[in-house]
Symmetry: C2
Subunit: 698 residues, 2 copies
Amino acid sequence: MRLLLLATTAVLALSATTASAEEGMWTFDNFPIARANQTLGTNIDQAWLDRVRLSSVRFGGCSAGIVSDAGLVLTNNHCVATCVANLSTQEVNYAATGFTPRTREEELRCPGGTAEILTEITDVTDRVKAAGAGLTGQDFTRARDAEIGRIEQEACANPDGTSAADRRCQVVSLYRGGQFKLYAYKRYTDVRLAWAPEDRAATFGGDLDNFSFPRFAIDAALIRLYENGQPVETPTHFVWNDDRPVTGTPVFVSGSPGATQRLLTQDQLATVRDVVLPLDQLIASELRGRLVRFAAESEQNAFMAMDPIVGLENTYKRGLGRMRALTDAGFMNRRAEAEADFQARNAANAEFAAQFGNPWGDLAAVQPAVRELYAPMALLEGGTGVGTTAPGGGSVLFAYARTLVRAAQERAKPSAERLPEFGDARLGQVENGLMAQRPVYPELEQVRMEWWLSKTREWLTVDDPRVRTLLGRESPEALSARLVERSTLADPAVRRALWEGGIEAIQASDDPLIQWMLSIQDVTRGVRSEWETRVQAPTEQASERLAAARFAAYGDSVYPDATGTLRLTYGLIEGSDVPGQRFDGFTTFDGLWDRATGSAPFDVAPKLLAARDVIDGDTVLNMTVSSDTIGGSSGSPVVNEAGEIVGANFDSTVLTQRNAYGYDRDVNRSVIVTTGAVTTALRDVYGMQRLVEELGAD
Amino acid sequence: MRLLLLATTAVLALSATTASAEEGMWTFDNFPIARANQTLGTNIDQAWLDRVRLSSVRFGGCSAGIVSDAGLVLTNNHCVATCVANLSTQEVNYAATGFTPRTREEELRCPGGTAEILTEITDVTDRVKAAGAGLTGQDFTRARDAEIGRIEQEACANPDGTSAADRRCQVVSLYRGGQFKLYAYKRYTDVRLAWAPEDRAATFGGDLDNFSFPRFAIDAALIRLYENGQPVETPTHFVWNDDRPVTGTPVFVSGSPGATQRLLTQDQLATVRDVVLPLDQLIASELRGRLVRFAAESEQNAFMAMDPIVGLENTYKRGLGRMRALTDAGFMNRRAEAEADFQARNAANAEFAAQFGNPWGDLAAVQPAVRELYAPMALLEGGTGVGTTAPGGGSVLFAYARTLVRAAQERAKPSAERLPEFGDARLGQVENGLMAQRPVYPELEQVRMEWWLSKTREWLTVDDPRVRTLLGRESPEALSARLVERSTLADPAVRRALWEGGIEAIQASDDPLIQWMLSIQDVTRGVRSEWETRVQAPTEQASERLAAARFAAYGDSVYPDATGTLRLTYGLIEGSDVPGQRFDGFTTFDGLWDRATGSAPFDVAPKLLAARDVIDGDTVLNMTVSSDTIGGSSGSPVVNEAGEIVGANFDSTVLTQRNAYGYDRDVNRSVIVTTGAVTTALRDVYGMQRLVEELGAD
């Protein structure tokens, strides 16, 4: 689950009817305290919840937890991998050596890194719904988007009307349009890397062991929140508890799971199975092949491609797990039964039918359009909400150019009329991402652009007018070479000038990538517009009725689908004993030494290996818990009843990937790196005694 | 449809109940003469059929037709692409220049090329069925295989008991075990290349235009049959007719379509959709990525990888068409209705149920085993009959080593106890393939082996004992490098010595690939054995009852699934007018000049372009016909009522790929290169006047 790919549209909702006692990614304002205490035998209360929430951090697409009173935060190493790559060169490569600053002053800022703490939740359902009342199609989506933009802007405005730089306000659609909540965050844009292990210490077993257990990975890192050039004081934080974990212990996992699709109807899931996942997986697999070969060409290429390959392989393997779930007859039959039960309850009440209509039928009627439009929307515009494919193939330069061109075009309009991602309340975040200083590797950029152009041409066909607009008479290879070689957008000063110069500067730019991006806007905006009209709006409207019908049928004892916002889940420390997934819930350093073969990815990182004699081999390294997690939960603090942190979530098993579509207590296991392993690594391997002391772990 | 990937097991059967008048890949001994004449308004007879059959040639995985009295044979250029690659070097690259021998003496022998003409068909159903009577599991498959081996050996024996080198005898399972027929062929092992165009003239539009229409491809080549060092006299041959083709003209296509799966039950197709195609397509896509990047690294690599990439892309795109069919609700619903009709007819007759049992249920019960065993069987052993994945990743050295090791092990046993592919009747063919002189490119070999080992480890998981046997403690990269670098099997003399030295020579060999191949035999044979027991035998037994039930329900007005053996299909020259596939049925050279952009793959081949002024631009280049074809039909002669050849089949549209599972008259269109285009190319472009005269086309 290492990477989060946040769905930007079609945020979905709700649990199955046959909910297990431990099912649910609950919001903090509707957490079932009594049910959790009863299930686990614990005694938590609202004050406990508040402390946990204020100690929980969203960091990029990951989760994290504050672990000292000086802004120190525990997350996964894979959550800082891009930061480490950005701070590294081939010569000074922190992925190879680990990052071990001797003093707090040597901690380095992560380019573009931001961290957020959820401070307030407000219900704005009525306002949002009123904005779309009586409208259809794109009018509906745009009216609501505009109202959402206004709500966010008002809530995060300084007294003088400007947007507050240290806050973020986000309206979240919950229960698939059943509720809208305003989430307000305290925001930190200066996040520094305090410690990262050698990459192999975190990724032992690599892609082969990813999404499996037993595991032997110190997938942990420490970052620190800064404000005004100083570490942030954080009196509210998790207390470090590195005692040996015990099977059966109740735990809570607090994090920001990215997206689940548990309320998708069976028809919608068939579209994911037949159209979305095949496209996403097939083209990702080809990119993987290109990158694997690219990396084998030279050490320099290997350095450039390492982080992208890890991310790609993670997404791909997660997709395999999802395909497996969608073609598992037993799992899908249970889901179909739950849908039938829901439909029966709805049909049994004449008022319900009159009130909610037939949302299942309405959603079924949308599927042909999804099947037709998924490929062009995903490849040319992205943000489908159902898949992972996005334009540009991950090229950083492409993303810069698109942001610059669109921001310039949109900022010329009133905030309410813009594409919602460029509303005033969100511009600060856009600018922050754009200006962060990141390395750009032209060779890698070209691999990505070339692959993306070539796959777009292949899937949409060479005679598609949109493809002709993209390519003109050039080949994907020639066009991508020309754009990447001649673009100057890798230079932050160039980006700054274009950002500040607005649409005139964009139009006057002689950067070929900017000019090309301008030339394809009619096509890409057209695809988006068609998607919004034929897919997004009717889906949202039917889904809202489906959510209302579900509240009517099952009351409010349900939780919303994950939306990349803070949730609390709970479960027990325990192993697994089902076919294909049998293990007790713990591994130790001794197990690591045993599994090591010396060949990558089963080679022990050099510093870790060198410390073998001083490490207590019986220390628990990783463990599994039954909590309900998904991509984005990476780095989530795992907390005991006392509110002490005992580990950080970093993975789950491949069978657990079905949790995108439904929680299955029998197989759902999240994989945790223990605080004990982190203490051991800091103290015995990386010489980070100053952090051990800061954690109070000595 | 460029490449044929022959299914070696599970050869399937029969048409749908709602057969169109033009549906069917008919055997020559059961061709519906009256029905065809009635449908087309033609007047063919048995003598016509015999002439067509004796003028039809199977060439490798392709089809072809004799077009002169001196053994000249028309096929597709893509059918000789491997021959061209084998005869070329980077310096003398016939793919780039075309192959244009000035005299017959300069025609070059295709390494390993064989051609066959079907001379006799004999029913051996009773003998084969009797051999398996009362047996189950592996006993059943092995007893039948042994009997089939005996039948083939007897039929092709010389008077002294040795196998006749110039004949081939093959027992073919038709109607999925409903009938067994002995096919006897005249066999030619000296096949020479007489003409090939520039590759780009044949592949204009490349993978992008593959499986589409309009097309502008001179995908034609000429080979010649030799015997005793002399061209074969072929008084029976197709007369060359290069008149301008006319819409609505009846045509017959005579060729060896590879494999259809039209009698698979819906449950079996779900397995193909959920398990087989995803594995095949996903790993093929990664290999494609590796090869694309490999080819971009140098001109030498591009030369080596060209032929493999074309083949791979063809198979992959065909798979996409099949996935699209299996997820097309309309198409699959029609198929489900046909199955329901069949079941209803069966249920309506109490005797039927008693006689045939419930083959649908029995096949459904086998599916969990197919789902479990497909990955190991496909990756470690191949020959699943349902998918395209095979061990070794296409490495030539791997194939040599496997054949040598297994042949040595098997030849130590009596013929009837061997793996069937090593029965006495088949050994000559095995030896011929093994000894053919082909170039081996170590760099490419390593790409293939490394990919295959890496994907096998990924899909079976790193802890699978079979994977541990394959890899030991080595990585896929290290193992493949070691095996490829140090193997001497590229040398035909080494192969000859090992073949002749038998098991002692194999065991004493210090070739690392031979030793490694020996070391994995227990594992790979074990996987095959489990597949035969749990999948193949119960599938064949249930399928045989299903075939019998179908004969009972629908009589004998049905045709068997394609099996790579000679069939005759019929239809009309016509375009298409359904959504997503609208075109009239013809393209011309003028259309080619119009479509050309100058950028690959839309660049006109240099010699072809140079001849633009002398070519009549209105000459029809390609056309479409409604005949029922599939991969393996490539090169099939397209014949008019008079028995004259008017073109060669070389492709079909992507929507036509559903014909693997059922013929759909609305969309089924085969793509043909006309004899007119071939005459034009020979005369106006390639200076092959001697062949124009031989064809009587001047």
